[in-house]
Amino acid sequence: MIFGRNGKRTVVSEMSPHETVLDYLRLREGAMGTKEGCCEGDCGACTVVVRSLQDGKAKYEAINSCIAPIGSLDGRDLITVDDLAASGQLHPVQQAMADKHASQCGFCTPGFVMALYALYENASAGVDRTAITDGLAGNLCRCTGYRPIIEAGLAACNSKAAGDAFGQTEVLDQLKKETSTSLFIGNENSFFAAPATEDELAQIYAEHPDAIIVAGATDVGLWITKHLNKLQKIIYVGRVKGFRDVATDGSGLTISAGATYTDAEEALAHIDPDIGEVVRRIGSKQVRNAGTIGGNIANGSPIGDTPPLLIALDAELTLRKAAGERKMRLEDFFIDYGKQDRKPGEFVKSVFVPNLAENDHFRAFKLSKRFDQDISAVLLGSKLTLDGATIAKGRIAFGGMAATPKRAKHLEAWLKGASLENPSSLSEGVRVALKQDFAPISDMRASAEYRLRAAHGLVMKSLFEIGAEADGAHADTRLVGMRQRASA
């Protein structure tokens, strides 16, 4: 494989399929600036920036190097904290961090510097506090309380000088050209493959149905680092042509399976601001820059955040294998815990999300112990089709309430024909219906009792809001993710 190492063309001819970027840096290069905090993509100490050419422009993406396969860098340029201070001069982000007293123990600091560096490079207009805290949601600091880090980020990103050391795109051009064909490192029993086209992907997966398909590795990375599952056959789909496409037409949105959350965030938010807010709260910037909607669907997690939303929106899934394609409603894909309707050699190709109709009212809420970068205890996606103040039809799905993302069909049935004139009067019925729909489990995220009670709270919240909206009013029910703000 060929990648850039701070702009320098670098060739790796031997590697184990599961070698991570962090191990490459620390164990191979002996570059010790990048730290391992948790080795599961949750603390951000290992944040590095990957630079690549997108639509002819250099784009900077912060990722967690601890769970990223080194092979996924093929054709891209890797920049680490060791690279920023050029000829004895601190980078503006580093200078601001030092000036603002933004490091104490210093162990998380390289990760913060790199997360801010990505923001700095991508910044065009004024960067506000929300952009900073969002950009830092994946970086944990246990010492400072964050205030000086936020201020350092604001100071640096808003004082950006024109031109920078890493701005040249020639090297990216060259890397892109050199890596336009399929990559295969290893042998029949152990390999890292990065097919360049969908047909090649279908073919190699047909030959190796026991291989693991990896996009962002935000889940699979943990199999490697935590379960010590040394995967021998990895098919990386990040370089498949067209696999990152997000396309809109008159009827809806088609998200290709390799599109990251970041790629799809804006288009999804356009359907409804609540979807944008839920996507914003999935993992962190580092996770969203790597993780994909397709992966979120394909791994079948009962607490994946996008499937309940997509089910409520009645999304359609396209699966592909060497022999051809088939389509199904997304909700039918999830059979049981850990079990999806995917045949050997078959992979998720894309998902189609239909537009909302004019009288559709959508709401999505995510509940977790912490607002940012947490896994949902309960997630609601709800589409109510109104006829005046009456619910003509409801399509309501939950995450975290069952072994799979699942629709609340009793609730949908019960709400059909209900009036939103006085939503409080629906409370008891909602409670009863949810109990018929779900028997959630208790785990470290929430008890079964809380899940049911909070699910009821979320449904009521959506009814209060939509009821007020239908009445031309506004119900102030939220602490975060204000719809006005999200759609602005």
């Binding site: 600036g33 949750d42 506090r129 010492c143 964050y146 205030r147 935590k226």
Partner: protein, 786 residues
């Protein structure tokens, strides 16, 4: 000096120091700041590995309690890259890594008393090989039903240490005869340290029995002694070094020792350097946390809310061994008064043994748990009487004639009334109380709450002999200065503060002062860097060492330039001796020529510490650090979610040595405390296995959780009443407890939903997660329905 939102100006110095050009009192950067931002500050795992370095991984069974009958390590030993497998039989000396009581096994020979007890350790060529091999053991166990919770341990009458009490007067009778009395019980959760750098050590064998151990430890001397004892060699053969930790927070006070011991044992066994770095999940499973407590209390008070008597029982989950639980639970007792006078009082404590990891030091060391009780009691009294909780607090503060703590120490430096009065004004508490009320009237879904709570934190180790420190200062012939002391750097800025102190002793610029790693061969028998005492102790010791050298240099200067010693002044990198003025570096050069020693140790033992635990008499603390915080929150009554809207902090650091460092400690401590009381929840299953052993499930605050409106001010101060270094005050731990204002504000928001006149206290446990909040709300709603 208010820092609001985005407008942080460099903190101003409160008043000029004696030497106004000096370093003390200036907001200097952390000494490693520029290295931190470049990733160039080396932590132990970043150090170059000596040739042939091996890697160690611990192995443990998947149960919490019982014995292992057969430990089959055949497959482990045969695994790729494995060089050795260590068991308890390999330990030549004492198999113990406890801080005091000899009850923590390095490698268990038979018993399993918690999930994560280390049974064996793999030594392999790579870390990955060691980790993979460690999972290949076949362990045959005879398990028993574990005691997981405080209640389990109590039911089994199992404790790690005897109960202990403070008693004054006749609280039981007085509570009964009080006009009003309340009883209540609640749970205070523990807390994972989540230092970003996990536990790590590297041991490098030297000549004969010598060993150099790099350990990420707050207590290198204890690591040294543990390793020596384990290898049955003299302490003098072992050196422990720590340049910096990637966070400690108490988690590396006693519990860094086991990992250093295992690395040393591997090095001893193989003759090769050996490194052990715990994987994050193992770190969280295998090392102790903040103690969680079951608190049961009753109190009697007047119609005005003035306490007459308090009786509280603090039952702590200590885990499977004592570790530091003597001091931790004592400190919970010492702070169960918070800032309030209890005329009649009983503070009882139980140190419960459970089959869980041994809980340990954590910033505040039990103090936060004790104080949380007192503040809940204040909120409860206010709730009961329908009064503003701040008024109830004020009515109960220590004051004249009401200034003896439950442990008999008189509070003589009480500045709290001034702190509270100032914060009440600057936070606009009263007007905002009205706004909160109005908001709650108008909004059917969201509720606001506000609370202003105090902090009074006792400074000194309550274990008397730890209140000592040593330092070593060297001046070189070129006038550069090297300092070393027993304190460790974990991010708190100790090194820079001590450097500032020493720079000013010599009147030289800070960049002339070279900071060096903490090493047991430079300063022996040091105390842990803990109890917020790092600067108080080591700053004083370093100042004494530097002053000894300066006095010698002054004497020489007086002789050379024919003036009185008292006329020699060290300032601005120069020495003024009578009419003559020489560069400091020149006087250093002359000192060498004139055979004047430029090296000195310094030693300091805190005065006036007279505490006797046996009799519960005397003075445990040199002084108190004070502060207060006002927090405003909003809760979502449909889901229990909570957001902190605004926080105002006023904190007392005496005369600050470095405002920037102190403010960093205050803000960081507050946010860490806020995490403890809100999102950070440790969940054990009924088998005693921790389910929240990674940042994916254990949630410390993120940048988003920092209140957007966050105002921090240092209390203007003439300086510490006690004779501390430059009249400064300790600042490491006290700010954690400022976060109790968030918990109280949440209580306030929930309480606003109560049916008028209800006496049912909202049952809010800590941490106040969305689930805990919704549960308390539900309890009030059900009360309304009745």
């Amino acid at each position: 000096m208010t820092h609001r939102g985005l407008k942080l100006n460099p903190p101003e110095v409160q008043e000029p120091r004696a030497a106004s050009h000096g370093s003390v009192g200036r907001p200097l950067k952390h000494d490693s700041a520029e290295l931190h931002v470049q990733g160039a500050a080396a932590y132990i795992d970043d150090l170059p590995e000596p040739r042939g370095t091996l890697h160690v991984a611990p192995g443990y069974a998947n149960i919490s309690a019982g014995k292992f009958k057969n430990l089959d390590l055949t497959e482990v030993a045969a695994s790729d890259g494995v060089v050795a497998v260590l068991t308890s039989a390999d330990i030549p000396g004492v198999n113990d890594c406890s801080p005091a009581l000899g009850d923590d096994l390095i490698l268990s020979p038979d018993v399993i008393t918690f999930h994560g007890q280390v049974l064996f350790a793999v030594v392999a060529e790579t870390r990955e090989q060691a980790r993979m091999a460690a999972r290949k053991a076949h362990i045959e166990v005879a398990d028993q039903v574990p005691h997981v919770t405080v209640a389990d341990g109590k039911a089994a009458q199992s404790s790690v240490l005897p109960d202990y009490s403070f008693l004054r007067g006749d609280p039981n009778t007085e509570i009964k005869s009080s006009p009003i009395s309340i009883r209540d019980s609640f749970h205070v959760g523990g807390q994972e340290h989540f230092y970003l750098e996990g536990q790590v050590a590297m041991a490098v064998p030297g000549d004969g029995a010598e060993m150099l151990v790099y350990s990420s430890s707050q207590h290198p001397s204890e690591v040294q002694h543990t390793v020596a004892k384990m290898l049955a060699v003299p302490d003098a053969a072992i050196t422990c070094e720590c340049r910096r930790m990637g966070g400690g927070f108490g988690g590396k006070e006693s519990q860094a020792a086991q990992w250093a011991a295992l690395a040393a044992l591997a090095a001893h066994k193989t003759g090769k350097p050996a490194k052990l770095r715990l994987d994050r999940d193992d770190d969280m499973r295998l090392t102790g946390k903040r103690h969680d407590f079951d608190v049961t209390w009753k109190a009697g008070f007047s119609d005005d809310g003035v306490l007459q008597a308090v009786d509280v029982n603090l039952a702590a989950r200590c885990g499977n061994s004592a570790d530091l639980s003597t001091g931790v639970v004592d400190r919970a007792m010492f702070h169960a008064d918070s800032s309030y006078y209890y005329p009649h009082v009983r503070i009882h404590s139980e140190r419960i043994r459970t089959h869980t990891v041994s809980n340990t030091a954590f910033r505040g060391f039990g103090g936060p748990q004790g104080m949380l009780f007192a503040e809940r009691m204040m909120d409860a009294i206010a709730f009961h009487l329908g009064k503003d909780p701040l008024d109830v607090r004020k009515a109960n503060f220590y004051g004249e004639g009401r200034d003896i703590t439950p442990y008999g120490m008189q509070v003589t430096d009480n500045i709290l009334p001034d702190v509270i009065e100032r914060l009440e004004k600057t936070s606009d508490y009263r007007a905002r109380r009205e706004q909160v009320r109005a908001f709650n009237k108008a909004n059917p879904y969201l509720r606001k709450g506000i609370a202003l709570t105090p902090v009074k934190f006792g400074i000194s180790f309550t274990l008397k002999h730890l209140n000592q420190a040593g330092a070593l200062v060297n001046v070189f012939a070129d006038g550069s200065v090297q300092i070393n002391h027993g304190g460790t750097e974990m991010g708190q800025g100790l090194y820079i503060k001590v450097a500032q102190i020493v720079a000013d002793v010599f009147g030289v610029d800070i960049d002339r002062v070279k900071i060096t790693s903490t090493r047991t061969d430079k300063v022996p028998n040091a105390s842990p860097t803990a109890a917020s005492s790092g600067t108080d102790l080591n700053g004083m010791a370093a100042s004494i060492a530097a002053t000894t050298i300066r006095d010698r240099m002054a004497e020489l200067a007086a002789r050379l330039y024919q003036c009185q010693t008292a006329e020699v002044v060290f300032a601005k990198n120069h020495v003024q001796a009578g009419e003559s003025k020489v560069a400091f570096s020149e006087l250093a050069r002359l000192s060498v020529l004139e055979r004047v020693s430029l090296s000195s140790t310094g030693y300091y033992a805190t005065p006036n510490i007279t505490w006797e635990r046996e009799t519960a008499t005397g003075q445990p603390f040199l002084y108190f650090a004070y502060g207060a915080a006002c927090s405003e929150v909003t809760i979502d009554t449909l889901t229990g979610e909570m957001k902190v809207d605004r926080v105002d902090i006023l904190h007392d650091v005496g005369r600050s040595l470095n405002d920037a460092i102190d403010i960093g400690q205050i803000e960081g401590g507050f946010v860490q405390g806020m995490g403890w009381l809100t999102t950070e929840e440790l969940v054990y299953d009924d088998k005693g296995i921790l389910r929240t052993h990674a940042p994916s499930t254990y949630k410390i605050p993120t940048a988003f959780d920092l209140p957007e409106d966050f105002r921090v001010e240092l209390m203007p101060s003439e300086g510490n009443q006690a004779d501390t270094i430059h009249k400064s005050k300790a600042v490491g731990e006290p700010p954690v407890m400022l976060a109790i204002s968030v918990y109280s504000a949440i209580f306030d928001a929930i309480a606003s939903m109560a049916k008028p006149g209800t006496k049912t206290l909202p049952p809010l446990n800590a941490p106040a997660t969305p689930e805990a909040i919704l549960k308390a709300i539900t309890a009030l709603r059900e009360e309304r329905r009745v």
